[in-house]
Symmetry: D2
Subunit: 468 residues, 4 copies
């Protein structure tokens, strides 16, 4: 079975070209000059004239079915990957979880059990280490060598839940320096934050906005700097800061990168578009929809502007979603009267490709950076390249045909995520996902869904090829 | 006539792949999965198994036949482009010159006259503006729209020769902001340097090393910052700092880039490998070989280390050579007894690809950055992409098959530049240029030269596609 | 004749104390424990109970009778020093001027002629060098050794009038490094500014606000950095940036100071209180009152906040006025229809002590910093210490008894400067100058003036004792 | 009883003057013009002609009799304050200790018991909080209001001993922000250090130099930044970093100070003169003499140069000694074969005034900065001003008459500290402590000791008057 995508504008990380893409079975086998490709035979031909042809989106930060605060993220691997596909994302990297006291491999097995046979698109796992000890460090080596898991997330926040102290972090970084893995860091000073949270609650400040106020940018910046320092002590262990939201944290990342170090960061669409005041501070309990950590930042400070700047300068390498959806009903509502009990998370796996394309339309980033930050760099950063993230022979046939003349309107009425609200309700975007192809199969076309549960395969990842 | 390069490891800016490259006539028409390409017919097949296949090198900074200090650079377009080809460079961008008082277009015509019919590889021109006035600004618009010249170099050094004052610079930047051109800057405070030079000569300090001592890093850094400030006043006009050599100058570039601005810089191999003390300070008049501006920097300071760091972080986007060769005999000798009369320049167009590959071997940069800094980014930066700088269908058939198992030894005995010495005499490098293909023609193979004068064509460039 | 100031709170740069001050003739001869001083006899006793006793204010930057743009500053040495006295300033350092082409000593002689016998308070001179050449550099040495003039101001702005190029600046700095003088710098890139001015006028932008818009902060910051770099090349010649107004310029000063260098800066009250929009942008031609260079900055940027911060951190060492008054009638009016013809300057010599005391009341700076920035540091910086700037035996009997419970209202109706308007019309300040004593003579007391023209003496200054 | 110090050069923080100082009983009652003072009667006259008269030194960081690692610092309050007196220090501020689990006031009482009646010079206490909880925070308020203790030290190092976590630190800072106290911080990431220490010991790296190697500068810098961030979250609580030793930590302090914040730091003579390689790395177990935390830093890095720079720029406000002496015999020897068991500390209370005067001789700092960093600023910083730290009427009669023409040679043979070695053995210094006067009593004169145990009194301190 062969498929020829003809006449499109292929967009890659370094530029655009008019080229045809030939897929045989699940793989791209040729990229062709349109003037040359008429001689090529294909079973099926898709006309992409006037449209962008990009490698399928890779969302490097999702949390399907994540248990949190007595409930679990509302998207299963089935619903979540289907929504991702609708939005032009053909690969997710989800976070398998080792809870404190649990055997790492057991945590991984549980995640495989959730995902196996349920995914609409390809998937891989990072591993969250909830407790760094000798056993966990040995397990880390084993996951890198045998399981295709080459990135490990630690938390400087959530004491008593996921929190690692600086000694544990240092040890994990030293191990990563040896086995080649990437350390991913949730960088917020959770010990100090917990003091602020308790003080706020004691003062009766229980509304959702206090979730943001008790997690000040200074404590994200502090933890970011600390993680960078610990990675330096660990002989420049590769470090990836997740969900960076604050200007001050970005400054620390930029300083490390100016030193030529292997320090990287991602941001998420919510930090580019939504704010402490307008969303988290919505009247009544409405703000609960936007309770996530790191929190939305103040519109009176230049965070969003700086984050776009960071995306231009590559001080921010990747846009992920940190997709972690909770419904208002029965879930977010657990925190009525106590913001600290609101499950943390925003759902957005379906909208990332569109929301960042809007940055191209707005002149914030170039077309090339759009593709690079949503697909090519995630693949390189997390050991999926060149199987994913690029349109070239030998790569998987994961393509999105994106229509720059279309428009997208986001709403709970039309989205496919398992949520009873949308974080971006009513937002309109210039540009629209047209056709989505996953390993050679058309799964979205003309507004119809052709994918299926179980099509998605687990991806064993190699080491990062993005290191400097 | 078709040519298939088979079995090689294609290296691009984002990674490597095993792929075959099919060229028809002068153009790449397909990049193919090796498993698929056996079905492809080609008139000639080159086996690249175990070798790197990279886009031909682009040297964005050369000065063939440049008149300077009463003599002229010793490489003609013929000898210089032939030497470039030997070294894996298939495109140069040379600097056409408008002298003060001259009509810009006349300067350009003179450069076309020198190059036309003489080049072994493709070439383009930047334009040096030796005098910014109303006429020159109009000419600038015309060159951008009609002549394929989209970058203009100004000098903050060389008062009375190429120097522009800050008002002229600002006006040129404002025009560039309008017409889309890139401003390239020789950033040294020449007014202050001239005072230091006169004082040194008056003290009898006439040896070549005083060329370096009278051009301190602080004055390169100052001018770099000034250029960046003027570009800011000109509404963020794109700015490209040439031959950056000093840590302090790099810091200013990094700071501007951290702000997400369109500020770029190149460095040259001489600043990565050679030093004030060891080369410029060689006994007697020997140091004259290494008189260039900006000068070689002190080995007691971390300049070279920082420049490699900048290449990693992309604060330095490009490696060019600033190839400007002068023989010792009759040329460099003009400055015996007065360093200020030594023609400024080092020849190196033949060695850039090898010298930067050595950085890969030494662990300074990745394989991807090698290709990006010597080919892909120069093409993007200066409006040659995707015709040049990338291996993809539609691009010119400019390829280098590079042997990572070969070795290169640099010497005046073996080089092809028209120089009576080598700036890198005796240097040995792991890696070797094997086959060089220019627009589908093999011009170097197995140590033999198959190119010819006149094969190289003038390239009309578009605007930069590298802007953020 | 002896005078005892009893019971006051003596405020110095390091703290406060309850102490009595005994003056014999023109000099302080003792500072005494109030419990001990009853045994002291004095001809006259002033009760300062509940009031601050501070060393007389020193305004290190005034321009009495300065010719500018076809007119001259409206305060003579007589009127200006009388107004200064009213406001608690007992010493000024005015700028003598060498015009381009003029012999430096002739310029100095002219200034002595203006001031001699006319001043109400003591005065000293800096020297403006309008043309740095061999003769001027020799004159510089002579002024330092013979004339008590140890600071020299250069201009990076005003091409064709006061402008020095970077070579001239470097040479003057090298001389200063030898003879120990301080280089003072008007740091604005005048060459670039002149382009912006001509372009604005050509577009018909002639209102006063365009004076500010054509002098962007980026060009003050650039020049500041350049001056700092040139001083570094001149072996760390002491450098003093005058009338610093922009956050970005302050950053460069702070960076140099963090390096432990002899780089200093002053700001002026107008930059702490007045803005581009509210004053310079006043309707019609009203804004002309506030045309000064560097210009007032935008209230939408954090300049004023940052300047107060700089005063706290000592990145700004001194508050001077840059007193250069012009009346609206016949003077500012010269620039109706062409902002570039408006004489540059604001009058404020009378209000500095009060305006900065307001910063104490507002919590911006401490009481100690008030005294330090308006008196002690100016004395140390410019070689007047310990004759001036401190209350200790051997120092001149220059005291201000300041009433923290008084209030001051600024208005053209009540001020003593020779101006037909006030830059601070209607401003009310908590605090009030009570008694002013100059070299042992009470010149202001209880709202009455007791001083006289001719009382003020020329002060030969030594070298700065503020260097690190 | 009156004492007149005649003819000396009085040196203060802002400059020098020729003045006589009259002491009546324990207090300075007058500072006098030498031409005026002949009329003054005094019981005793000391001729200080040609000598510097400075306020008595204040060592703001000592640990007399501190229990540590199973032993105790070898100087008692008696021997230590006597040695201090010999070296020109007339006030110490020692650290009273609350151990974890102990009532704060009990810890203070224990310290009073040690010091009471035993001190040769005046003394005050900071309080170390070994455990921040509700009781300790209440005690903190009480000590500020009732006990004259206005500064509290916390440790980011020494887990299980003195360590506070970030939540405890934040709470203490919030309390300090309310009650006006200063938080002092031992800034090293002790959690990470402990990992490095255990790893080093496991590798058999037991020599004293590994004490330094396992406490890298990056972890001092990290903790310094963290403390600054926490103080920011605590509404800009005043923060004082003790024993700053690393360039990278200084950069964080400088950055905070450039923001105008109440962040201060001290360094110690050992970091200005001694190094990791030359002292801590001495052959065999010799290096144990120089085991202190923060550790001595590498001579191959610019730490010492940067610290002197910081003393010039006031990014380092104070020089203290962190005097914490342990003999080799029976004390340092506890760590033979395990560097982690070597008691941490260097003795130097006797040599600070001389060692920093050497910086004046070497051109590192000015005479004024010498006095400011060793006396005036400590007094202002810690609420002893104007009783201490300045020569003015009303202040205590604490004076040192310092002979710039003398010399000092440091040796265990001649020092007065209770140590069996000297950290500065054989060092020679230009300058010599001559006469030392404490509250009007001559305690050192002409190489003879006239002081006595019990002369020194406990000083209740006020709040810092150094805040910006
Ligand atoms: Zn997280
Ligand atoms: Zn997450
Ligand atoms: Zn950067
Ligand atoms: Zn060049
Ligand atoms: Zn000026
Ligand atoms: Zn600073
Ligand atoms: Zn002025
Ligand atoms: Zn200590």
């Amino acid at each position: 079975m062969s498929l020829l995508v003809k006449g499109g504008i292929v967009v890659g990380a370094t530029g655009t070209q008019l080229a045809d893409v030939l897929i045989e079975g699940e793989k791209i086998v040729a990229v062709l000059d349109p003037a040359y490709s008429p001689t090529v035979q294909a079973d099926e031909v898709i006309d992409a004239t006037g449209k962008y042809v990009i490698p399928g989106g890779i969302d490097a930060h999702t949390h399907m079915e994540l248990p949190f605060g007595g409930t679990a993220a509302s998207d299963t691997f089935e619903t979540g990957t289907r929504a991702a596909a609708w939005g032009g994302t053909t690969t997710i990297i989800d976070f398998a979880v080792q809870r404190t006291g649990e055997v790492v491999q057991d945590g991984l097995a549980a995640w495989h059990a959730k995902a196996d046979g349920n995914c609409h698109i390809d998937y891989a796992f990072h591993m969250i280490l909830g407790g760094v000890d000798d056993d966990a460090l040995k397990a880390m080596d084993q996951l890198v060598s045998d399981e295709g898991i080459t990135s490990f997330k630690l938390f400087m926040a959530y004491p008593g839940v996921f929190y690692s102290d600086d000694g544990q972090i240092l040890r994990a970084m030293q191990s990563a320096r040896e086995n080649g893995a990437m350390i991913m860091m949730h960088a917020e000073n959770g010990i100090a934050i917990d003091v602020l949270v308790q003080q706020a609650l004691a003062r009766g400040e229980t509304d959702p906005i206090y979730h943001g106020i008790t997690r000040p940018a200074a404590l994200e910046a502090e933890a970011t700097n600390r993680a960078i320092a610990l990675a330096e002590v660990a002989q420049d262990c590769p470090l990836y800061i997740v969900h960076l939201s604050a200007s001050q944290a970005l400054e620390h990342v930029a300083a490390a990168r100016d030193q030529g170090r292997n320090v990287f960061a991602e941001t998420c669409p919510q930090y580019l578009y939504l704010t402490l005041e307008d969303q988290l501070g919505a009247p009544g309990f409405e703000g609960a929809k936007w309770v996530c950590s790191t929190p939305l930042r103040s519109k009176h400070e230049p965070h969003a502007k700086d984050l776009w700047k960071g995306l231009r300068s590559n001080d921010l390498a990747i846009v992920s979603t940190d997709h972690c959806p909770f419904c208002m009903k029965d879930q977010k509502e657990l925190g009525r009267g106590d913001f600290s009990k609101i499950p943390n998370g925003i759902g957005g796996v379906e909208h990332r490709v569109d929301l960042i394309y809007q940055g191209v339309v707005d002149g914030q980033i170039s077309l090339e950076r759009w593709v690079e930050t949503i697909s090519t760099t995630p693949a390189r950063m997390f050991g999926l390249y060149p199987q994913k993230g690029v349109i070239q022979p030998g790569s998987d046939g994961d393509l999105v045909i994106y229509d720059p003349h279309g428009t997208t309107r986001i709403s709970v009425e039309t989205h496919h995520m398992n949520m009873d609200h949308s974080a971006y309700e009513g937002v309109e975007i210039a540009g629209r996902v047209g056709t989505v192809i996953s390993r050679g199969s058309v799964i979205v076309a003309d507004g119809n869904y052709h994918g299926r549960k179980g099509h998605g395969r687990y991806l064993r990842r190699g080491l990062s090829t993005y290191l400097v």
